[in-house]
């Protein structure tokens, strides 16, 4: 917690001597601030600071959660980066999803946001329809999509076949599994739609009118009026999207498990990422290493890899979008 407390200390030992009353007042304010912040100060140190340090510690240990941990230096790190067979596919899948999913989400979300601002009749219905899937619990949405896209009896393939379109195997085909996950994610675009819609409605109307008088077509109006004013929001959507996709877990895991048809009970160890590790993501690998193989050290190494990437993206966010921070700073 010293990070938060220490910048305050100079105030207490300010060079200029202060009247006792003033000093008492300052101390009172400091205590007041600490009091109000205390839930978070405790939470941050106990549920964030400690486990982060412990993760670094365990990454240098051999530990199977039964015997005492023993120091092995960089062996876990070397194992993860050079020998672990699933690290490559997991990292590849996560990066693939980060690039494709985030890009398509932003484009699609912006498209739906634009559409909603153009609708004249039944706005309420359309907005609710576009927003509701975002609220569906991820597990429920995934179970529903595994059913809808079931290659044998799913309604989607029934319709495609009726239309004479060759139907893919979706979650059961290694080439289609990730695109299926992307589709599931596009279905839940509601949050981005709302953000983009709000940003689009904030663009000053006069600018559109001025552009129209200058003879600008629809594309020119978008390019020179809309786009410059919504770029901060687009950037925000990209960066939060990247951070979220780095954590992508539930949908990939549930889709893989259900599509594989494996019966799951407590203690069942399944190879994650069905089919052919095509849906295995880094967070799944952390879980699998730490809680199924009890290779705590390697799991902690992978956690730290996630941490470094997430922090890098967050730093980028801070740099590029200072607006997230206190406005008066």
């Amino acid at each position: 917690m010293s990070l938060v407390e220490s910048p305050e200390r100079p105030a207490a030992t300010a060079p200029r001597p202060k009247a006792p009353a003033l000093r008492r007042k300052h101390r009172g304010q400091r205590l007041r601030t600490l009091g109000f912040l205390s839930p978070w100060l405790v939470g941050f140190s106990v549920f964030f600071g400690y486990p982060l340090l412990a993760t670094v510690y365990f990454s240098f240990m051999h530990y199977n959660q039964i015997q005492q941990p023993s120091f092995v230096g960089l062996r876990n790190w070397k194992y993860v980066f050079t020998q672990m067979p699933l690290f490559g596919p997991a990292l590849w899948n996560t990066l693939w999803l980060v690039v494709v999913m985030v890009a398509l989400r932003v484009v699609f979300g912006l498209g739906i946001g634009l559409l909603v601002t153009k609708i004249k009749s039944g706005v309420g219905f359309f907005r609710t329809a576009f927003y509701l899937p975002y609220l569906a619990p991820p597990v429920a949405a995934t179970v529903a999509f595994v059913f809808l896209l079931n290659p044998g009896t799913g309604p989607v393939n029934e319709i495609l076949e009726a239309l004479g379109i060759p139907a893919p195997g979706w979650f059961n085909d290694a080439a289609w599994a990730k695109p299926s996950l992307v589709m599931l994610s596009l279905w839940g675009i509601g949050d981005l739609m709302v953000i983009f819609m709000a940003a689009l409605l904030d663009v000053p109307k006069e600018q559109y009118e001025a552009a129209e008088l200058d003879g600008a077509g629809a594309w020119a109006r978008f390019r020179y009026v809309t786009w410059p004013s919504i770029t901060p929001i687009v950037l925000f959507a990209v960066v939060t999207g990247v951070v979220q996709t780095m954590q992508y877990y539930t949908q990939a895991l549930v889709a893989g498990k259900l599509a594989s048809g494996v019966t799951i009970g407590p203690g069942t160890v399944i190879q994650p990422g069905y089919p052919d590790h095509s849906t295995l993501t880094v967070p799944q690998l952390v879980y699998s290493l730490g809680f199924q193989n009890f290779n705590t050290g390697a799991a902690c190494v992978l956690s730290l890899v996630l941490f470094v990437i997430a922090m890098a993206v967050t730093t980028l966010l801070m740099r590029k979008r200072a607006g997230l921070l206190p406005a008066e700073d």
């Binding site: 990070l3 938060v4 305050e8 100079p10 304010q29 007041r32 009091g35 109000f36 912040l37 839930p39 978070w40 405790v42 939470g43 486990p51 412990a54 365990f58 739906i112 559409l115 004249k120 309420g124 359309f126 609710t128 329809a129 899937p133 609220l135 569906a136 991820p138 597990v139 429920a140 809808l148 309604p155 319709i159 279905w187 709302v194 709000a198 940003a199 409605l201 904030d202 929001i233 954590q247 877990y249 549930v254 498990k257 259900l258 048809g261 799951i264 009970g265 203690g267 967070p283 952390v286 879980y287 730490g290 809680f291 902690c300 956690s303 922090m311 993206v313 967050t314 966010l317 921070l325």
Partner: protein, 302 residues
């Protein structure tokens, strides 16, 4: 950026409908074509968003045999499927656990986030910027980064694995996302109200409870809703701590194993799926405004 601006989108742009002449009728035709084009795209998009719900619902009332056939419309409406789902051993426990996790989690989160967000929004103190940076950083962090040491503490030292307490208790100590969201909202409350309360002799705690909290109700509602849904939807947390003990499973975690146990019964699975979605959707219809406000606050305010 408030919800009031959102409604501007529905304002009809019909002007000059009383004009006559060929130019006006051309313009009217153009507007009509535009209307048709926009609404056709909207209907097509709406199908993509709504049809999954429709198919899920239709399947949930089919007979066991028909649910496997790939047919789209139910021959008969078997409402009893829902009763069968409720009668499945454990299903009611999962409801109770989900409600407990989401209810207590929301209560704890709101209670702890209010003072912290207030201090970050309204107090001037050194290190505020760093504190805010740390809040945002924790908000951005994948939960998998710190889960292993936390699990070891809860399981080996406190012997609380097999229950949802390791997920609920930390929420009494401030959740970064909720603190951030609420702080963004509190920034919009004019400083004058707080100062005049102080002039009237209110201490900080009284000012917070009497002035700030009543004014911040919409923000608090948004935080509460998001936290409720976060807990309701959480899969990773219950998987880590409750997996070994089916009596502690939540609906979100249990649903997937429900499918595994009923391997061929898509109708029952879809009924269960809808039952997991239902509370979220019902709450949404009662609290739409708080929701939209919350989403825009996190995304746009700055």
């Amino acid at each position: 950026m408030t919800t009031t601006t959102l409604r501007a989108g529905s304002a009809p742009a019909r002007t000059g409908t009383t004009d006559r002449g060929p130019a006006a009728s051309r313009a009217r035709r153009k507007r009509l074509l535009h209307w048709i084009a926009v609404h056709s795209v909207a209907v097509a998009a709406a199908l993509f968003f709504v049809l999954p719900f429709v198919f899920v619902f239709l399947t949930s009332v089919m007979s066991d045999d028909q649910a496997m056939s790939g047919e789209l419309w139910p021959h008969e409406w078997n409402w009893s499927n829902y009763a069968t789902v409720f009668a499945t051993p454990g299903f009611l426990d999962w409801w109770r656990n989900s409600l407990m996790y989401a209810g207590l989690g929301t209560l704890f989160t709101v209670g702890s986030a209010i003072p912290v967000a207030y201090a970050l929004a309204k107090f001037r103190f050194r290190g505020r910027r760093i504190a805010m940076l740390l809040v945002i950083s924790t908000m951005m962090l994948p939960p998998q980064v710190i889960v292993i040491p936390m699990y070891l503490v809860w399981a080996q030292q406190l012997h609380l694995s097999g229950s949802l307490w390791p997920l609920i208790i930390p929420m009494a100590f401030g959740d970064a996302y909720s603190i951030f969201l609420l702080r963004q909202f509190l920034l919009t409350i004019p400083q004058e109200y707080i100062e005049s309360a102080k002039v009237d002799g209110c201490g900080e705690v009284r000012t917070l409870l009497r002035i700030v909290v009543p004014m911040a109700k919409p923000g608090i509602a948004a935080v509460a809703l998001f936290q409720f849904f976060y807990c309701w939807n959480d899969y990773f947390g219950p998987q880590i701590y409750a997996a070994q003990n089916p009596a502690a499973w939540t609906l979100s975690y249990g649903l997937e194993s429900f499918k595994s146990a009923h391997n061929v019964n898509w109708n029952l699975t879809m009924a269960a799926t809808l039952l997991v979605m239902a509370p979220v959707i019902i709450v949404f219809f009662f609290a739409q405004k708080a929701f939209v406000e919350g989403v825009t606050l996190t995304g746009v305010k700055g």
